[in-house]
């Protein structure tokens, strides 16, 4: 009896993974439908919608068009795109981790974009400000990375402090700190020597950190001329560390207790105020580290007029975390999935008549539906029940027959 019930009920982990896959599938189907609708509206041939769908699915395995064979789309291993995917996944994994970790403590870190911006600014400033002919480049890289983390932690800390000591909802303060960061960063760069005054017409951007010789080590990950580098590995290390901290340490135990029942945590003598602040600080640090890993690649330029817009990578931490059901290891995969979609989007606007805005909408729809993991999980539990009924029925009938014999 015991064994049978164990078998009929899936364990929670399996359920989560299946639910994530189901919601991704839903998103992709819906995205496909949208492609056709857009094609119809814009009077595009339906074949281009089909091409678009294949590009979205194919993503990094798209190898362009074969112009010798009627410009058909071709698919295969595209090393450059795979590398780009890993590179773009890096900051997404980090912001996903940031949201997931805060969530474990019962906090909704919508402040990731602000923390990400602070990390961006600090990493670029430090990487450009310290002369690499005096200090070795790798040391500058480390300093820039740490400075970014410190700035992000500080930025995460603020909503944490408000929440812990004044009981102000962290969502409200996070939104405010986001915009403060957006303006502060513009202020920091405005008129500074880090602006690209070298290339004509590029003054809206910062200098690349590589101009000062600071760039993340490639470690052979730059296959096919892609942008991947050691940063991706660092993100994986962070994910593993987050997993260990949350699940295996007393600190993580406290964080989870506070997130799950803060009254009980307090009753047990945990310092729930301190834990809230720490959790937000770490979350901020993670977001900012993501920014540093992205911009310290060396060859990326930063559009510093941020006062009007917050970085999408910060916000995308939310779907990355949700899609992973807030599991740190899951964030690696959901981060890669989001990056895969981003690449699909750029391929879509390159190779078809869909412009980048439509591509963005389609990607957004997929992401949105992908966040339905919890919903599908609930649905699955309900479905399992009826299955159990049947097997139970069969079993008891068998049992009765046994008795009769």
């Amino acid at each position: 009896m015991k064994k049978d019930t164990a078998r009929t009920l899936w364990n929670d982990g399996t359920k989560t993974v299946v639910a994530s896959l189901l919601s991704i599938l839903m998103g992709v189907i819906f995205g496909g439908v949208l492609l056709f609708v857009v094609a119809l509206c814009l009077k595009m041939p339906l074949s281009s919608a089909w091409e678009g769908f294949r590009i979205v699915l194919g993503g990094v395995f798209n190898t362009g068009r074969n112009y010798d064979a009627g410009s058909a789309l071709t698919f295969g291993i595209n090393a450059r795109l795979i590398g780009d995917m890993l590179f773009r996944a890096t900051p997404l994994i980090m912001t996903g981790l940031s949201v997931a970790l805060a969530y474990k403590t019962g906090l909704f870190n919508i402040g990731a974009p602000g923390q990400y911006l602070m990390g961006t600014a600090m990493s670029i400033i430090v990487a450009l400000a310290i002369d690499t002919s005096v200090v070795p480049a790798f040391l500058v890289w480390i300093l820039a990375f740490l400075a970014a983390i410190a700035a992000g932690a500080l930025w995460g800390c603020i909503p944490g402090l408000f929440k812990a000591y004044l009981n102000v909802n962290e969502v409200i303060t996070s939104i405010m700190t986001n915009w403060i960061a957006a303006n502060l960063v513009t202020l920091l760069f405005d008129g500074s020597r880090f602006i690209n005054n070298v290339d004509f017409g590029k003054t809206g951007y910062t200098l690349k950190t590589a101009t000062n010789g600071v760039a993340t080590a490639k470690l052979g990950l730059d296959f096919g001329g892609g942008n991947a580098n050691a940063g991706f590995l660092i993100a994986i290390v962070f994910a593993a560390a987050a997993y260990i901290v949350i699940n295996k340490t007393t600190f993580g135990y406290e964080l989870r207790a506070c997130g799950s029942n803060k009254n009980a945590a307090r009753y047990a003598g945990m310092n729930e105020k301190r834990n809230i602040v720490l959790s937000m600080a770490i979350a901020g640090g993670l977001s900012a580290a993501g920014a540093a890993l992205y911009f310290l690649q060396g060859d990326v330029e930063f559009y510093w007029h941020t006062s009007m817009a917050l970085p999408a990578t910060g916000f995308n931490g939310i779907p990355v975390a949700l899609l992973a059901s807030c599991s740190p290891i899951g964030c690696i995969f959901s981060g890669m999935f989001m990056a895969y979609l981003t690449i699909s989007g750029s391929q879509l606007s390159t190779f078809t008549a869909y412009n980048e805005y439509i591509a963005n909408i389609i990607i957004a729809v997929i992401v949105y539906l992908s966040a339905f993991t919890l919903f599908f999980k609930g649905l699955m539990s309900a479905k399992k029940k009826t299955i159990t009924v049947k097997s139970e029925d069969a079993k008891s009938k068998a049992g009765e027959e046994m008795k009769r014999k």
């Binding site: 295996k248 007393t250 029942n261 009753y267 003598g269 310092n271 009924v389």
Partner: protein, 515 residues
Amino acid sequence: MADNYVVEMLNITKVFPGIVANDNITLQLKRGEIHALLGENGAGKSTLMSVLFGLYQPEQGEIRIDGKRVEIRDPNDANTLHIGMVHQHFKLVECFTVLDNIILGVEPNKLGFLQKKEARKKVVALSEKYGLLVDPDALVEDITVGMQQRTEILKMLYRDNEILIFDEPTAVLTPQEIHELMQIMKSLAAEGKSILFITHKLNEIMEVCDRCSVLRKGKYIGTVDIAGTSKEELSRMMVGRDVKFAVDKAPAQPKETVLKVSGLTVPSKLHHNNAVKDVSFEVRRGEIVCIAGIDGNGQTEFVYALSGLEKASAGKIELCGRDISRSTIRQRAEAGMSHIPEDRHKHGLVLDFPLEDNLVLQRYMDPRFQKGGFIQREPIRAYAEDLIGRFDIRSGQGPVTPVRSMSGGNQQKAIIAREIDLNADLLIAVQPTRGLDVGAIEYIHSQIVGQRDLGKAVLLVSLELDEVMNLSDRILVMYEGEIVGELDPKTTTVEELGLYMAGAKRNKGKEASAS
């Protein structure tokens, strides 16, 4: 005569991971009867009632209402069939007022606009008719457990339900309130409503019920007419052995003072007055001191201040000679305090954690359970297994069972096991046996006496008169936030105690001289 039955649950089987909670159970409820459901903690009573209320779908069996087979898929179906339930653990929205909670889901409205006035009238009328005292405008998070319970009952009456399920309604009520509830139940039954009544208190079953069905470990044992049975027989049917109702204990031999409270004053969240006013007393090693009183007379706030959950506005608390008035909760625990809290779900447990993690809620920092900040699973599991065995904590999957899925009584046993095993100098036990079956109560009482005999000081806060009289060595009566009397359980009577609790009598002078 089958048409006599309003509710028939036939051959119900419900399986949870690791356990068959209901194993082929049949229960038949007659119209206008009060039917008791009795069984040990974890026997499957709440599960069976949740099946009737549509919260769980059974794997097998059928439900008939008025002889007709019905499918109850969710509580809305149950409501349509006029089935109402007061849950063992209340389902109230904490940040809503009492009134809002009562009308939640059936809000009276005109064109979509709330008509609270009518609702309020009906609620006030109901609460007066049945003597269910509530403050309709208080926030649920601020009111006592007793008032939450009354809110739940009003919720059911407000919906004009005909079949009423009470899952341990009396566990949290005072004797007076229980008496009133019994009267209410009788009059509801006389009005033709049918009542299913879960309780662990055999006196209550003897007093109001017509019949009683007994479950043991998920199996149906039988149904008996109350008129032809006795408390002893019921408990034998339920536990499978004879149960002693009196507590075995030698006279107390109090030694030096462990807890000294002087002039403690705690502000109230409900009103502008102080909830606890200038309370002073001592508890010594080797004695069980009980704070008795009617619910809502400041006991909750007093314990909060004592344990550090809330701040006192004046006064001094000394534990083993150390002034802990300003200490944090952890410092108090380290100074030698353990605390079985009143509200097991709010403070006592992290429901989403497995049982083993809840059993080390304060001790995860012990060198035994962590090395360099890393949690040591194996010792924790072994420790949990040990407590589970010693305190007979029953669950589907042992140490890894999510506490949320455990039966109410077993959740309580987990807390008691954890707190008693802390072996602190002072054990504060607030309603320690709330929701436990008679067998478990017998065991827990012997454990508390055991702590006393080991030279610990025990401060018991209880609404249960039997427990107060049986277990304590000294009784302090709290009325409107003051200690109004000190009584010796050996020389006092329940009636006298009742007079003190109602505020009709006081002997404060004596209390002052004692400390």
